[in-house]
C-alpha cells in the first residue's frame, strides 16, 4: 500500500478550481518530482497535502489513515518553502529545534538532535548564528534541517533550489538527493526545471493546468512522453505538423502508416544537420531548409533552420554558414509522434504552432 495516497483530489481558491482530480501514490522512501510550468498548481498541491488550503473533494491518506480534514498542525507533514521561511528572530539552532520544542522533547535530547542535523546538512558550528547572516544555500539547508527535525511522515519541498545561483544549485541538488537516499524520507519535490526532476526523483509527475499529464520514471518521461505537452516540456521543443510527404518534408516510419496528420516532436540535440541532398529514403524524418541563425553553445552550435513555414533548432558540432541550404535528419527513435486526431486539444501543441 502506498505511504501517501492522493485520490481524486480537487482543490481551488474560492470558486476557481486549480487542481482537477489528482491521483498520486507515493511509496515509502520514494522521492517524486512534480514538474510543470509556472502557475500549473504545483504549490497548490503541496499546500493541499500540508493542509494549508481546504480540499473541494477527494481524499488524502497517509499510511492508511485519512488526513483530508485534519488541520495542518496535526498532520506531521513538513514543507521546505521556496522562500525558506526561516524565522529571522531566532538563531539557527532555535529554528531547527522549534518543532521539537512544540512537541515537548526534553532540551538535552533536542539539542543533540540539532547537532546531528547540523552535521547532516554540513552546517557544524553554525548553531548560534543568526539566520539572517547565512547565504542562500546555508539558509536552504537550515530550512531542510528544520523540516527533518520532527521526522515527518512526508517531506514536501517547494522549488527548494530556485532561489540559489546556478553553481550552488547543482551542489545542493546532489546533497539533497544523497541525503534522501541515506535517510530514506518520503518526499515530494516541486520544480519547474526538467533536469532537476530527472536527476533527483525516483518518479516524475508532469503537471499541466492542474492535471497530471504523465507519471513515470525519469527515463519514461524523457524517452516516451505520452502527450505533446510532456514532449515539449521535456525539451523536445521542435514541433512540426506533418500532413503528407512533400519535397522538403519526408517521413518514413517503420510499422506505421504515414497517411494521417501527425504532430512530430523532437530534440534539437537529436537532429542531425547534413549537406543538402534531395532524395533520402532512410527511416525517420528528413527536412530541408535554410540556416537562419547560429549560436555557439560550447560543445556544439545551435542552428536555427527555416523549412517552409516552420522554424526548427538543430545542434551540430560543425557550424554551417548562414543562408546555406541543409538537410535535417531525425532518426525514428528520436521522434515523438502524436496522432492529431487524439491529441488535438493540447495547449502546448497550439502554443508551438503560434510560436
Amino acid at each position: 500500500m502506498a505511504h501517501l495516497d492522493i485520490r481524486q483530489l480537487q482543490v481551488g481558491y474560492g470558486d476557481k478550481t486549480i487542481l482537477h482530480g489528482i491521483n498520486l501514490q507515493v511509496q515509502k522512501g520514494e522521492m517524486i518530482a512534480l514538474l510543470g510550468p509556472s502557475g500549473c498548481g504545483k504549490t497548490t498541491l503541496l499546500n493541499a497535502i500540508c493542509g494549508f488550503v481546504p480540499t473541494q473533494s477527494g481524499e488524502v491518506h497517509i499510511a492508511g489513515h485519512e488526513i483530508t480534514q485534519l488541520p495542518a498542525e496535526r498532520r506531521n507533514i513538513t514543507m521546505v518553502f521556496q522562500s525558506y521561511a526561516l524565522w529571522p528572530h531566532m538563531s539557527v539552532a532555535q529554528n531547527i529545534s522549534y518543532g521539537l520544542k512544540v512537541r515537548k522533547i526534553p532540551k538535552a535530547q533536542a539539542h543533540k538532535r540539532v547537532l546531528d542535523l547540523l552535521s547532516i546538512v554540513n552546517l557544524e558550528g553554525f548553531e548560534n548564528e543568526k539566520v539572517t547572516n547565512l547565504s542562500g544555500g546555508q539558509r536552504q539547508r537550515v530550512a531542510l534541517a528544520r523540516a527533518l527535525a520532527v521526522e515527518p511522515d512526508v517531506l514536501v519541498l517547494d522549488e527548494p533550489l530556485s532561489n540559489l545561483d546556478a553553481k550552488v544549485r547543482l551542489s545542493v541538488r546532489h546533497e539533497l538527493k544523497a541525503l534522501q537516499k541515506k535517510l530514506g524520507f518520503t518526499s515530494l519535490i516541486v520544480t519547474h526545471d526538467q533536469e532537476e526532476a530527472l536527476v533527483m526523483a525516483d518518479r516524475v509527475a508532469v503537471l499541466n493546468q492542474g492535471r497530471i499529464e504523465q507519471l513515470g520514471t525519469p527515463e519514461d518521461i524523457y524517452q516516451q512522453p505520452e502527450t505533446p505537452f510532456v514532449a515539449d516540456f521535456m525539451g523536445a521543443d521542435n514541433c512540426i505538423i506533418y500532413k503528407t510527404s512533400e519535397p522538403n518534408v519526408q517521413l518514413h516510419l517503420p510499422n506505421r502508416s504515414t497517411a494521417q496528420t501527425f504532430a512530430l516532436y523532437f530534440r534539437s540535440s537529436a537532429t542531425q544537420v547534413q549537406a543538402f541532398s534531395n532524395s533520402k529514403n532512410e527511416a525517420g524524418l528528413t527536412l530541408s531548409g535554410l540556416v537562419e541563425q547560429t549560436a555557439f553553445l560550447g560543445q556544439q552550435y545551435r542552428h536555427t533552420v527555416r523549412s517552409g513555414e516552420q522554424v526548427l533548432q538543430a545542434d551540430s558540432r560543425e557550424c554551417w554558414p548562414i543562408a546555406s541550404q541543409v538537410s535535417l535528419f531525425v532518426p525514428p527513435q528520436a521522434l515523438h509522434v502524436f496522432d492529431l486526431a487524439t491529441h488535438e486539444t493540447s495547449n502546448a501543441f497550439q502554443s508551438n504552432l503560434r510560436g
Binding site: 521556496q82 526561516l86 522549534y98 528544520r146 520532527v150
Partner: protein, 277 residues
C-alpha cells in the same frame, strides 16, 4: 559645497515649519514654566502644580497606563484574530468593525460614551430590560472607568490598524512553517509573530499615549470633575485665570510622562536588538 547649499534650501521650508510651529512654542512654554514675570528663574510654578494637582497627575498616569495596557491586549488580540483566524467571514466583519472608531472624533466618541455609560444610560437600561440588573443596582461608569473605556475604544482602531498591518506584512510562509511543525495558533502568535511585530506595537502604544495625554474632551465630558486629567487642569488654568506659567508647568509634566514612556519603549527595543545580534 553647492550640493549642501541646495540640500539646505530643500529642507529649509520643512525645518522652518518645525521651528516655528513646534520648537518655538516648546521653548516659549519652557521659559514661561521656569521664570517669573521679570524673567528671573523660579520653581514656584512647579511647587504650585504639585500642591494643587498632584492627585490629578497620579490620576492621569493611572488612566494612561491602564488604557495602554488594555489597548495592547485588545489590539494584539484583534490583530492576531485577523491574521490567524481560519474563518474568512469572521475576519471580513471584524476588519470592517474595528476601523469604525477611526472616523469618529474624540468629542463625538465622548458624547456617545456619556449616553451609553451613564447611570440611566443605554447600557444600564439594556441590562435592566434584559433582567440582568434591577434599576437600583445600576452604577454609573462615568468617571475614571468611563474615561479609560472611551480612550481604549477610540484608540483601539488606530493601534489595531498599525499592529495588524505589521502582522500582515510578515511572510505567510513563516506562519505555515510553524503550523506544519505542529504549533497551535496561540504558540505561533507568541513565538513567531509577536517577537517580529514588537517594534510596531511599541510605536502604536507610544503614539496612543501621546494622543490620550492631549485629549481634553473626554475627561471634561466623562470625568466627574475631581480628580481629573492634566489636560483639563491646563484648560482651567488658562481659561479661568489666564495663568500661563502654571499651565505651562503642567504641560512640562505631561511632556515628562510621555518622555518617560518613550524612554521605556526605546530602551526595550534597543535591548531586543542587542539580544538578537
Amino acid at each position: 559645497m553647492r550640493a549642501s547649499t541646495s540640500n539646505l534650501l530643500l529642507i529649509g521650508p520643512a525645518a522652518l515649519m518645525v521651528v516655528a510651529l513646534f520648537l518655538y512654542p516648546l521653548f516659549f512654554s519652557l521659559v514661561s514654566a521656569f521664570t517669573q514675570d521679570d524673567l528671573s528663574f523660579t520653581l514656584d510654578h512647579f511647587v504650585k502644580v504639585f500642591e494643587l494637582y498632584s492627585n490629578d497627575i497620579k490620576f492621569t498616569i493611572i488612566i494612561v497606563l491602564s488604557s495602554v495596557v488594555l489597548l495592547a491586549i485588545l489590539s494584539i488580540g484583534i490583530a492576531a484574530t485577523l491574521t490567524l483566524s481560519p474563518f474568512p467571514k469572521l475576519v471580513a466583519v471584524l476588519a470592517l468593525l474595528y476601523r469604525l472608531p477611526l472616523f469618529i472624533p474624540f468629542i463625538v466618541a465622548a458624547q456617545m460614551m456619556r449616553t451609553f455609560l451613564a447611570k440611566n444610560g443605554l447600557m444600564n437600561n439594556t441590562l435592566v430590560a434584559m433582567g440582568v440588573m434591577t434599576p437600583f443596582e445600576t452604577i454609573s461608569l462615568l468617571g475614571w472607568s468611563g474615561i479609560i473605556i472611551t480612550f481604549v475604544w477610540k484608540q483601539l482602531a488606530f493601534s489595531t490598524l498599525l499592529i495588524s498591518g505589521a502582522m500582515a506584512a510578515l511572510n505567510r510562509d513563516q506562519i505555515q512553517a510553524a503550523q506544519n511543525l505542529g504549533a497551535s495558533r496561540l504558540r505561533i502568535l507568541v513565538d513567531v509573530i509577536l517577537p517580529q511585530v514588537m517594534p510596531t506595537i511599541g510605536v502604536a502604544l507610544v503614539l496612543s499615549t501621546v494622543t490620550i495625554m492631549s485629549v481634553l474632551s473626554v475627561p471634561l465630558m466623562i470625568g466627574t470633575g475631581s480628580p481629573t486629567m492634566i489636560t483639563a487642569d491646563i484648560a482651567f488654568r488658562v481659561n479661568s485665570y489666564g495663568d500661563y506659567p502654571v499651565a505651562n508647568a503642567l504641560g512640562m509634566v505631561s511632556y515628562l510622562i510621555c518622555a518617560g514612556l518613550a524612554w521605556f519603549y526605546l530602551r526595550q527595543s534597543l535591548k531586543d536588538k542587542g539580544a538578537l545580534s
